[in-house]
Symmetry: C2
Subunit: 449 residues, 2 copies
């Protein structure tokens, strides 16, 4: 692809801006893609593992303030026999030096949520393709910051929502686009995951044992748990919303219009501390603001509704609780069941989804399942990083873009707002500034994107 | 029980009124209970069948404006070798004559929704124990009318919510009361039933074939479908809400506080007409107001949330979609799965609900399962009518009362109001006028009630 085509494609993807000025320095397409990683804790390292697996990528720089995380990451390079990257560390702002590197094509950000946008903005302003973990933003202003920075710089930003690539939800996407569900009406989704042993630990192990969080804790409990103290809303919406947004063509012919949110009382985290650490543990005095289950209902411009659930403080098996429903049928994640009118054998009876998952496997999975398997981690992490890398290689917009990052993540602050107003409906901003009306689909188009 | 005890019990059940004046004429406890039936269409006849099965009940009067329904009902008596009842027919108001009968202890009302309250009020004012089908009321005023009439007359009114007696939801009730779910947080429920072939027929068969409704149709399609033309809300909430209300002690230590409601676009009924009857059928021009899926979230006074779904216009297998969740575990209807902390074998893994359903079977089912089986219709219709009859025999309040009827049914007009206001939160009236704070449980107490 020549530069002219690239600019046209970029401008088209940006949609809301007629022309995007480019910092062309970073878009070199000679030899391997050069990536830098900001944040190489548990999550960042799983991306590093995926990148090290690839022979079209070189990792030339990593950044983390935690020496142990850095050491463990360098060990991965050692083990793979790959050239060691340059290390940026020693300060919260060391990442800024990484962003300035001329050799980097893209930067992958896997840091605490509150650092996502400052780092993404710096990365984009440095002209890099930017990949940021979920949720991309914490506040509404941050969602606008991402969009504004993209529209100003032309640097792409992809939210690394791996669940978009889950095999079953991509099969459903394929079936929806074939019209097998008819006109779409309704979806359920969410993040239903007992995180009590993620939110608390003993300061040495990342998972289980101990009831510490914040400074005394290890890994995510260091920072993530504080969000359960300070906020009441769906604070982790994108694993559920990403796939549904693709099913419903959000930002591309459709958009989120408004939402209401409701929270149960907060019991689970306090109970966990008392059960595990006793009444006298100092954390037993902490007042957690986050309701144990938060339910958000979202109205879409084309008349569909979405029910989104956040449920992380209670004993329960993991489930994202997907449901896809249209005028011709319904699929449900829990129970793995489907019913399609005039297709299913018996009227009013569920069928197993298994044969459908085989028959309507998305072409992207058909093409790359083997490579994904070899890369480990169940496949979805392979696909999401691959999407980012392929976009850099082709110098095109990524298959999940900055408008997706902004809109999906914005559900968090808006649900907080709704709950703080007694479940009042809250308008969801149109981050595309009207371009949703004419934007084309960018995700799951073929065996490449 | 003597009259004095009865008055005390009645006054206690009424709660909000210090003393209830009684029309004692109807409370005769000599020999069999005498019942009258208003409405003996398909639903009414299924209650007649249950009553005819019993040897402690005589049906002395029936009422219906449809000669065919009357004939089919009399045939049931013939078949059972029972004395034929007196028939009231010929006018919409023939039922008023039935209400005046001195011999009747109770009246069972199974008529179109809009007739429930006028008939119940007349029945209660005539001093009869009154049983009314679901939903009990259509408007908010009607819910107050039921409560006010009860408090004025002392005549009991039971909503015939048969799903309250479903074996699995009673098992869950039993487990909740044993504390196995910990403190309750959250529930899902609803009415998810493809009613397209109930809402439309060919005027001769009650189910399937034809796209007529209203005058040209048969059975429920004659009147029920018009509610889908005129109303957008959860127009049939009690099958889901009844069991959850018992789980959460609604009106007895807890209450519904407020709700929001959201509806998808309306597509299914129009599509069904066009698919089955063609573009040119006159009903293809009908504008259905009812969204295909309506989601209502209800906040309870003690901090629990309920998600209630109404989904009757789309192809889908039947499911009331129950979920019960507390601080110690979760049960889900779809998939028939349960997880209880420190009880389930493996952490974070679902178990089958089957062994729990056996072990924690409610005592009411244990005691009467055999009789329920003999009575046919799957048991729940046996139990709900039995509850009504036993209350009459003991001259006590029924196990599901007028405050339940009022509160559960009121969700319909309130959800309509919320939807008409763009999903704004709507306060749910306290029909107990504060008595919920001290009311005791009345349902599922033992092997009798």
């Amino acid at each position: 692809m020549n530069r002219r085509t690239f600019i046209q494609q970029t401008a088209k993807a940006a949609s809301a801006v007629p022309f995007v000025s480019l910092n062309s320095k970073s878009y070199r397409n000679t030899g391997n893609i050069k990536l830098g990683f900001i944040g190489v804790g548990l999550r960042g390292r799983s991306h590093v593992v995926q990148a090290l697996f690839r022979d079209d990528v070189d990792i030339t720089a990593i950044c983390d303030i935690d020496p142990d995380a850095v050491k463990r990451t360098l060990d991965l390079f050692e083990k793979k026999g790959k050239n060691k990257p340059e290390v940026y560390t020693g300060s919260d702002y060391a990442y800024k030096e990484l962003c300035k590197r001329e050799d980097l094509d893209g930067i992958v950000i896997s840091t605490p949520w509150e650092w996502h946008v400052p780092m993404s903005v710096d990365s984009m302003e440095a002209g890099k393709y930017t990949a940021v973990e979920v949720s991309a933003t914490v506040t509404l202003q941050e969602s606008w910051d991402l969009v504004n920075t993209y529209e100003k710089t032309g640097s792409h930003c992809m939210i690394l929502e791996n669940v978009c690539y889950r095999r079953d939800v991509m099969t459903i996407l394929n079936m929806i686009r074939k019209g097998m569900f008819g006109e779409m009406l309704y979806a359920h989704c969410g993040y239903q995951h007992d995180l009590r042993e993620v939110k608390f630990n003993d300061g040495t192990k990342p998972y289980g044992g101990g009831v510490e969080f914040g400074e005394k804790a290890f890994s995510e409990a260091k920072w993530r748990t504080q969000h359960s103290v300070d906020r009441n809303g769906d604070i982790y919406p994108t694993h559920g919303l990403g796939p549904v947004a693709h099913w419903f063509d959000i930002n591309r012919g459709n958009k989120f219009s408004y939402l209401t949110s409701m929270a149960t009382k907060a019991r689970g985290l306090h109970k966990h501390i008392v059960d595990q650490g006793g009444d006298d543990h100092p954390n037993a005095k902490v007042n957690f603001k986050l309701g144990d289950v938060v339910t958000t209902t979202i109205a879409c411009e084309n008349g569909e509704n979405i029910v989104l659930i956040h449920d992380t403080n209670s004993p329960r098996p993991y489930s994202l609780g997907f449901r896809a429903q249209g005028t011709k049928g319904i699929w449900m994640n829990d129970g793995n069941t489907i019913y399609l009118q005039n297709v299913s054998d018996k009227p009013h009876r569920w069928e197993s989804f298994d044969p459908y998952e085989k028959e309507y496997d998305h072409t992207l999975w058909k093409e790359h399942a083997k490579a994904a398997e070899n890369a480990g981690h169940g496949g979805i992490d392979f696909f999401v990083l691959r999407g980012f890398i392929e976009a850099i290689k082709d110098q095109v917009a990524p298959p999940i873009d900055v408008y997706d990052a902004a809109a999906w993540s914005a559900i968090s602050p808006l649900s907080e707002l709704s709950i703080s107003r007694g479940s009042s409906p809250v308008e969801i901003p149109d981050f595309t500034r009207g371009a949703w009306k004419t934007n084309n689909r960018i995700f799951g188009l073929n065996n490449k994107y």
